[in-house]
Symmetry: D2
């Protein structure tokens, strides 16, 4: 039994948390799952109530996001979400708590102070998550586009983390890739990555694409731009919130359009769970140093 | 209107033939579709009966395979498949005929001699098709495996055309790739491709994989080998005929197992149709030289 | 004749400036070279004195650095460097002046104000220059190391611009690459790039390397670290100033050690000159907008 | 001490044989060098005469080629080459002998029959050697061309082993690569490798290149073709024998032209020696099976 960081409780969450539990257990840690009622058994892992799980552990892992808009811990593997009862809060107190989107915890549960860490805020989490997101986007593109990625005309709008990974993937699969960005230094990096660089405000000068990936959370894909470059394209919008595509226009124009959110959890929950685990390890290492 | 090679008729076939027609028409050729009853209209392309399509054309394109086991032209876009009536044969005579698997045509229709060409037999067709097959296999893997390809342990069994393309794709997406082959020179190429090379008869010495791709049409994946390396793997069998995996054993052992055949037509009919068109162009060029 | 940005004068500088002139002239611009006495002729380009070149042009390009430590324009293609005489300054006044390291110009020639631009300060210049530097470093490694890059054990110390490009190059040539950095997010990017990531303060835990590239301008390679990982390595130090390697120790220990500075100008003056030209174009475009 | 294959003698040869000896010794084998008079000492390796080395060993390794045109073993590390005296032949008899270009041995020394193996004839040797050759060619290109490989226009003539590896290297460094071949299936593979494919007999239709690599041992580069595509190019001829470039024409036309032969031994003797060793291991494994 690995006791380096003590016993872990995983309370609430979707498949990612299950894979996180699996991976912690495979590393030799004692792991207790709290609130996964619909699961009958899991090798080497104890299943119990959130309260007991919290009691039995040194470190508690909450999902991403840790609380929904009603202040409950999301629990898709149970009939109901988990409420932060006083008992549960008492059982959690003084322990190391890892969660995604800590501000929600602070809002709904200001008493829970102390050793609370937000794995979602770590930059390496964002980097690995971008990788999983880009692969999920590639999967969506493969399923939707009727040709191969190889030889297809692809546009990646935005050259942040996801745009970078996606550009590299598409290039290495043999697509012809154009990437839009605003900064001259980004345009330089794009060219070095083997893609065609274009300023975002000159997208309308381009021709038609087969697949368009948007990563920019701003309404760049107006009806005019869609008419110019997207009439025969599959448009995959990865931007959070409202996305960057005028959905109603896209629909009216008969353009295949997918707003693909939370891809890591959907397309690769195993990897997404391992990313959570590894980020928690990093935080624990730094905390111990 | 491009009249380089005259007018084309496409008689029978699935989505690939539709995309082949689309692409020929976009190149400026007159194209007539024969036997696609369930399609109402297609821009710039005439829809009619197989007999009339044959009459109106200089060059006739039959699907892959050109005839099913009953000697009919497969026609999924119609209620019935197309019979090779004497009228149809007469209308086809003396014209250039392109088909896949010409031996079936020779068997059922020995009268149809002369300028008959088999695009499926061309080696460049096989190369491009291997690319589309490998991408289709990657898509299946992405859909089935719960982690990302990046970081996954992959095995590619066989280093022929498909194995080569698949290895390169998986490597460039960041998988850890092992490839099995028999010839020392293939093992050398595998290492140069950045993968781990292993002799096929030593596969049983390896550990567990996440994703296994088989391309070898021989029963390599016996229960013993499956138990050794595939217990937690997704197994994707690309070998034709009976495949290379003991399906019953795989099922009994609870191993996720997919026999994925005819991937280009299923996963990328647009590209598959364009491959047919380009191969026909090559043959026409050589025939004219 | 391209008159978009008027006539150019290139005053002083090494081969990079000649290739910059060549490339401007090939784009259709009138180009005059000032101070390249040892060159007899150059197709479509006029050769004259710095003063006349300045007089004849709308835009003046000075080298990188624009002035040496004595306040003169470096002029390796002439017997003497070029002095900033009052005549020359008068001829330059009011024109667009492009230079590298503008602060030196401000120091020695405070009168020359107005439309002076520093191409060396632009981030896209730094990005492209990093590419040329990394390729130059690869060339040095190939010349010095007695094996192939393929299969060699390489260490890249630092993951800034040069480190990023170098890592990608080495990986794609089949080297086994370890990269050191400090930030967890950099370590994540390094892993995504297919290299082994290691914290800079844990370099001493590693084994021996064949080739070591240093990009960090701090004395990381102490005798102790050299003894641990570099005894049989070629060490290529790309860090500016004093570099990151204890040279005296490396020499005493018999370690092959090269402090490779100003690689773009030495290894690829043609590309280095074109980078200067393209950066100037970017600045001119923005200035006009 | 590794005694798997007994004691090795390395008789004659250049730096490659020294690195082969080094690598055998590092694997734990007893190694004796015969005929390397100018070398004073080598860690863990005995230096002696060819006769004594042969006597002391179970397995004898001769260089590539094993005999020069006078029937002597090439011995650049000695004043004279090594003659196959009767004594030496007697000492070698009955032992396993590895050599490059066995036909020369059969010609000059027909008595030496039995367990003689030619590592140079093995296909995996040719594959690994192609890798080392391609890297050597890249090194020559980097030294000679005044720009970066990235962004340069490269032509690779021929798509055999060396052409394949070179194409992949150049592409991954960001060059724009055109490759010529004759077979339609090779043209298909070239396109899949991300390069532009052109039929060898249509090379004259192309524009100018920066760097041209020839791998075809036929006089393809006539004055007419050189005038069309090579006036500003660096031409690196890798074809054996007379090469594929009209040297006199290239010289007259002022085209930079390098006939680069035996690159593995020159550019990467360490790797070349290890390739010899690994091929010998493969032969020994098969011989034992």
């Amino acid at each position: 039994m690995n006791s380096g960081y003590g016993a872990f409780a995983i309370i609430g969450g979707d498949k990612r948390q299950l894979f996180c539990a699996r991976s912690l257990s495979d590393d030799g840690y004692a792991v207790t799952l709290g609130g996964f009622d619909s699961i009958a058994e899991m090798k080497n892992i104890e299943l119990t109530t959130p309260f007991e799980a919290a009691l039995m552990s040194d470190t508690i892992i909450l999902p991403l996001p840790c609380l929904n808009s009603k202040g409950q811990i999301p629990d898709p593997f149970s009939k109901d979400n988990i409420s932060l009862t006083d008992d549960l809060i008492t059982a959690m107190k003084g322990k190391r708590i890892f969660c995604g989107m800590q501000t929600r915890l602070s809002e709904y549960c200001p008493k829970l102070t102390g050793r609370v860490f937000d794995y979602y805020e770590r930059e390496e989490f964002a980097v690995y998550n971008a990788q999983a997101t880009a692969e999920g986007a590639l999967e969506v593109a493969m399923q939707t586009f009727e040709g191969t990625i190889h030889g297809s005309e692809c546009l990646v709008c935005g050259y942040g983390r996801i745009g970078k990974v996606l550009t590299s993937m598409l290039r290495s699969l043999g697509a012809k890739v154009t990437v839009s960005a605003r900064k001259p230094s980004d345009l330089a990096w794009i060219e070095l990555a083997g893609a065609k660089a274009v300023r975002t405000d000159e997208l309308y000068k381009l021709g038609e694409f087969n697949i368009i990936f948007n990563t920019v959370p701003a309404k760049i894909f107006t009806p005019i731009l869609l008419a110019k470059i997207a009439m025969n394209a599959v448009v995959i919008d990865l931007a959070s919130g409202e996305g960057g595509v005028d959905k109603y226009a896209a629909e009216r124009m008969g353009i295949t359009h997918i707003h693909a959110l939370s891809l890591p959890g959907k397309a690769a929950p195993k990897t997404a769970g391992e990313i959570i685990k590894n980020t928690i390890y990093h935080i624990l290492e730094e905390d111990d140093r």
